[in-house]
Amino acid sequence: MSTQVAYKQVFGWPESLKKNPTHYCPGCGHSIAHRLVAECLDELGIREKTIGVPPVGCAVLAYNYFNFDMVEAPHGRAMAVATGIKRVHPDKFVLTYQGDGDLAAIGTAETIHAGNRGERISAIFINNAIYGMTGGQMAPTTVLGQEATTAPGGRDPRLHGSPIDISRMLAVCDGVVYAERCSLTSVKNIRKAKKAIMKSFRCQLDDLGFSIVELLSPCPTNWKMPPKDAWAWINNEMVKTYPLGVIKDITGYEEAK
């Protein structure tokens, strides 16, 4: 492009992502999470041994974006599907990618028991506190007071229960070796999230057990906010219910640089 200054690409397209346009809304966290997963697989060089299980949720079409083998799971059952795959191919890398409705409502039993069995699976958990795909219904993770189409006056603990913290529940299981909560709403947080994903992947490669990375992720569409406000809402409000950080870590790994 230039003859005078040598420019080097420092940020580009990860191989583990197909070059298809995504269907995600402007400002949605799903596509960031996709990229982070893809970058980690690239860096570990395991794209070609990866088998992924997307959710039923906004990321149902993730197989159009991820550039590795993928199989659809019925809503909520990604962990069970992943278990089946991993038991057939213990030497392959298996990950699930799931929303909060998928992983923490209809899939609660599958999630808890995959964790409890210590399945060698890495779970990427997109917590956007709402049902995205179906149009903004309350999620188990919807925070108190937050509006949803099925919680018209905002979530009320008496009527709708309190937001669920499934990562903390998973931490109770012996088979879960690592659980961390990150957010996708700043350069720093995104980089942290990537490190967490990397660590989770290592847990599987090192045959330690089950691990989960929960990513607080904006859904501007259903929160009815411009992307920028949605990002700010996570940083200012959502983290009060879901504090960021390591929830469980018995990996024995030294802290990554």
Partner: protein, 364 residues
């Protein structure tokens, strides 16, 4: 090598036949009357280096099956009626995704929790797809332990051949009965034909995806369904199986499958000894239903007597097969009783007389 004759319980027979057919993955959740099958496999399959997981539920289990099948494993699950009801979504997905697997239903009495006595009241669910959408699963209905062996092998083969879940339909009686059986030589799973559609990491090839969702606005789902239908037509064409017993000279043919057919055969022996020309038509595949064969037999006999361990499910397929070509009588025992040959003898007496003392005449 083929085994000697051994005395074995039906459930164990299915387990042993499965591993000999190359099955190395089993996922299931306990439920009476089929627990002996997972119990058998929990030991046997693990010895062979395979995977046995007792899932946290029937739903988890069928979805583990889905995953294992997508990954290329010969895989099986089993349950009994209410548990099979819970697997319907998963089966529908697997049908849509064209994933092979064997699903065993050792039926029990229903509806709801019912009880564990033999029953055949899940016929509709099995043959019409209790899940959502236009799909069918081949349904094999063996009778007795030796046939359990053959049908288990066949189930795995049909599943792989047509890339579809296949149902093996038995009941508690069949699972509990012990009979002498001979097993064929065990297959080495590695010797099975390679599948070129499975997910095992995309090394050296393009990534593959397996799914049942077709969003395209150009009728992709429509096309997908037509493709499936074509496959179902092929199965209907090629895979119908049935047995006839002494139908050649029969004035009345009992139509029954599974345990009911066994009971009916005892009844037939008694009736024959009384001098009645009674035969049996036994569908072995419930879907595809052996419609043309039954049509022929019925047309000749002029009278068919449908005996079911349900209040009338297979009888619809009999009507669809026979129409007005023969008189159709029906007698059903709903789940909850172990039926006896004596019941059937009475029914046939009624049907021969043409009255409705036991059972009833079906108007077509």
């Amino acid at each position: 090598m083929a085994s000697e004759k051994v005395l074995m319980r039906g459930s164990d027979v299915v387990g042993e036949a499965a591993v000999r057919a190359g099955c190395r993955y089993y996922f299931g959740y306990p439920i009476t009357p089929q627990n002996e099958l997972p119990e058998y496999l929990s030991k046997r399959i693990v010895e062979l280096g395979g995977t046995f997981i007792q899932g946290e539920s029937e739903i988890a289990s069928i979805n583990m099956v889905l995953g294992a099948s997508a990954a290329g494993g010969r895989v099986m699950t089993s349950s009994s009626s209410p548990g099979i009801a819970l697997k319907q979504e998963g089966i529908s997905y697997m049908a849509g995704m064209e994933l092979p697997a064997v699903v065993v239903n050792m039926m029990r009495g229903g509806p709801g929790l019912g009880n564990i006595a033999p029953s055949a009241a899940d016929y509709f669910q099995a043959t019409r797809g209790g899940g959502n959408g236009d799909y069918r699963t081949p349904v094999l209905a063996p009778t007795g332990c030796q046939e359990l062996v053959e049908m288990t092998f066949l189930a795995f083969d049909l599943a792989d051949k047509y890339r579809t879940p296949v149902m093996l339909l038995g009941d508690g009686l069949m699972g509990q009965v012990m009979e002498p059986v001979v097993f064929p030589d065990p297959l080495d799973p590695d010797s099975l034909p390679k599948k070129d559609w499975i997910l095992d990491g995309c090394e050296g090839r393009e990534p593959r995806t397996i799914f049942s969702m077709y969003l395209g606005q150009q009728g992709e789902l429509y096309q997908h369904n037509l493709r499936l239908q074509e496959k179902y037509d092929r199965i209907t064409e090629n895979e119908k199986r049935w047995e006839t017993i002494q139908t050649d000279d029969a004035d009345i043919v009992i139509v029954a499958y599974g345990t009911a057919a066994r009971i009916a055969e005892s009844a037939m022996e008694e009736l024959r000894s009384e001098g009645s020309a009674v035969g049996i038509f036994r569908p072995i595949t419930l879907w595809p239903f052996p419609l043309p064969a039954l049509r022929d037999v019925a047309t000749k006999a002029k009278k068919v007597a449908v005996f079911e361990l349900s209040l009338g499910q297979m009888v619809e397929d009999v009507i669809l097969s026979v129409g007005e070509r023969a008189e159709i009588y029906f007698y059903g025992i709903p789940g909850g009783l172990i039926p006896t040959p004596a019941d059937v003898v009475e029914f046939i007496h009624s049907a021969v007389r043409g009255d409705e003392k036991v059972g009833r005449r079906i108007e077509v």
